[in-house]
Amino acid sequence: MSLLRLAGVNTYYGEIHILQNLTLDVGEGELVSLLGGNASGKSTTLKTILGLVRPRTGAVEFAGEDVTQRATSYRIARGIAIVPENRRLFAPMTVLENLEMGAYLNRDGKGRKEDFERVYTLFPFLHERRHQLAGTLSGGEQQMVAMGRALMSHPKLLLMDEPSMGLAPILVERSFEIIQQVHQAGVAMLVVEQNANMALSIADRGYVLATGRLVLEGPAKQLLEDEGLRKAYLGR
């Protein structure tokens, strides 16, 4: 059974038809890449999943429940979390406070302590720097805080919006290692990326979007070898 499922989703901004009959799913514990160039509808897909925009037709199902008409906070509480594009940390707040905000919906003190321990085990660096202001960290370090913050809500599904954006090549690699690490801990992931090569190399499956429509889907290995995809997105 799939954890997340978009069924025939049509999303509009005003009269502009952005997502056109989009159907995709992410299984439990699966790592799925969503690829596409600029303005292909990747970010709108994430917003639709989170409930920041509502589809005009179609359904968003999460963990077997139709959440199409549910508020963002409801979906977060059900187990979706996101590492936003450009990380969007709360810059003048400490690393610890940022993590706390990630666990905003978790009011249970004991559960929260466990969440802190889990995140600190995954990223010992965050424990070291917990009292430092998030805005004073470097890009790669901020990426870790953003991942930690998202994991604080104990998500079943983690959405990653352009994790490679704004990072030096060496940090991109490190960032993808972290993604794999989190994935191996049992969290399903939907990674939205322009860097198709990198994203497919760690994914189980992939989808390719172009101007709001799915143009390709399949196992990641197969997509990596696909002639059309190479031409269109890998530039070789």
Partner: protein, 486 residues
């Protein structure tokens, strides 16, 4: 901090965190360091343990009534506290949650009018304060909810416009009602009862001062705990990045409405005190000028800071009162003006030798100009010092004050503005030397034009004060500087 030559190694221990690392901008890495590197006065105060600071602060404030006369206590003490309370309330929505609320004064007005209706002969209702105050605060919070509901989805400029409309609508509403109507129209509501707690009536300014002080301390204490709570941090994240806050699952709309309601309740409480103390409420007390004053207090004190609101209120209210036309001792305004000039020279000019040259030069320059002008045309220096006082003797021998200044003072004023602008273009010793005649010109304009029109002057001085502050410390006196994300 290490600078230059060597690239510092990646720190192994968290203690080295503030040092520059590869991939970290120097400015960003030093943000915390910079906040520590403050002036000697601030450092000395900061070194005193927090509990002692608080005790001294409370002790000084609660003993003021024994030092001040009733009039001065009303003017400098009570109104500083009222402004501070209003700024604390406004600070919840603007400073904590980042919602630009321009209708805030309506809640203050609502509190005042609500108390006036509940405790005056107008309707023959005379509620005790211990019942009226909670009712008014809850009512104001409810009004905050009503304003928050339709505007919860508005951001930035749009929210500002809608709330500004709300604030104006309140004034129009209380004004438009005919004299027999709910709010008494332009005549307001008179003979409002003094606050009456279980039979104990607050009658003197001292009583009101102490009661307002208690309210202020309770509010500041409550806000301290709220700002350190989960809700307080959620407000801050909302201020920093509403979208990120929303995808963390925060109930953004509820948080915004809560901020409005908190601020409104504090404003309602303040309005009650104001109405009872004035024994009357009138539409003109709640217009845009008080909103501007409260924003000035908040910006001066530093957005998001609590004690900053008190300091901002003290600076604004005291200087406002000193420059006020109704001040029984108008020469204090002159002291304020010259002290401010000298403070700016001392604070902004370095090295010290230049400060000494500028100050000594200005004094000598003044006497020289006065002597020359007096020799050429005696009537040009025979004018009387307006609003005399302790400085007037010196001033009449230093500043040129013509018997009839005519239009010359106005031209000098325009020339002064131009000269100040030119000053910003030159640097170093030239600026120090050019400053001497400009300071003298400022004195000439003050004595011949500004001190005769205190109402206009205080607005100009306010504006200049805020502009100077924004240039020197954009985050306000006690605000923490923002760290931009790299």
């Amino acid at each position: 901090m290490e600078h230059g030559g060597e690239i510092s190694p990646v720190p192994a221990t968290p203690g080295d965190a503030a040092h520059t690392r590869i991939g970290v901008d120097d400015w960003v890495a030093e943000a915390e360091e910079r906040q520590r590197g403050r002036g000697p006065l601030v450092r000395t105060v900061a070194a005193i343990p927090r509990p002692i600071q608080i005790v001294v602060f409370i002790a000084v404030l609660s003993l003021l009534p024994f030092v001040f006369s009733e009039g001065n206590l009303f003017r400098y003490g009570l109104f500083t506290l009222i402004y501070a309370l209003l700024a604390l309330g406004l600070n919840v929505s603007v400073g904590f949650a980042g919602l630009l609320d321009l209708g805030f004064i309506a809640f203050y007005g609502f509190g005042a009018y609500a108390y006036a209706i509940l405790a005056s002969p107008k309707y023959g209702i005379h509620w005790q304060a211990e019942i009226a105050i909670p009712v008014v605060m809850v009512g104001a919070a409810f009004l905050g909810l009503l304003l928050g509901l339709p505007s919860r989805r508005l951001l930035g400029d749009y929210l500002a416009i809608v709330t500004l409309f709300f604030g104006q609508a309140f004034v129009v509403f209380v004004n438009a009602a005919n004299p027999k109507g709910l709010t008494g129209g332009a005549n307001g509501i008179a003979n409002v009862d003094p606050l009456n707690f279980f039979g104990f009536k607050l009658t003197t300014t001292r009583h009101y001062y102490w009661f307002t002080l208690i309210a202020f301390l309770l509010v500041i204490g409550a806000l301290y705990f709220i700002s350190e709570s989960r809700t307080g941090r959620a407000w801050r994240s909302l201020r920093e990045d509403p979208l990120a806050a929303e995808v963390m699952g925060m109930p953004v709309n509820r948080l915004k409405i809560m901020a409005f309601m908190f601020g409104a309740a504090i404003a309602g409480l303040t309005g009650t005190i104001f109405a009872a103390n004035q024994t009357g409420v009138f539409p003109g007390d709640f217009d845009i000028s008080i909103l501007i004053t409260i924003y000035a207090v908040m910006i001066l004190g530093g957005l998001g800071s609590l004690i900053g609101m008190f300091i901002g209120a003290a600076v604004i209210n005291v200087s406002y009162e000193l420059l006020s036309g109704s001040n029984p001792n108008p020469s204090l305004g002159r002291w304020l003006f010259y002290l401010a000039l000298i403070t700016v020279v001392i604070a902004r000019i370095r090295p010290w030798i230049r400060v000494a040259v500028v100050l000594a030069g200005t004094v000598a320059f003044g006497f020289a100009v006065h002597a020359i002008v007096h020799a050429l045309e005696p009537s040009a220096t025979s004018g009387a010092v307006t609003n005399g006082g302790s400085l007037s003797g010196v001033m009449s021998h230093w500043t040129v004050i013509p018997a009839h200044s005519g239009a010359s003072a106005k031209y000098a004023y325009v020339g002064l503005v131009a000269a100040v602008l030119v000053l910003t273009l030159i640097k170093g010793w030239w600026r120090a030397i050019a400053l001497i005649p400009v300071l003298y010109l400022a004195s000439f304009v003050w004595e011949n034009l500004l001190s005769e029109q205190p109402a206009v002057t205080r607005l100009i001085v306010f504006g200049a004060m805020l502009i100077a502050l924004m240039a020197a410390r954009p985050q306000g006196l006690l605000g923490t500087s923002r760290v931009e994300i790299a």
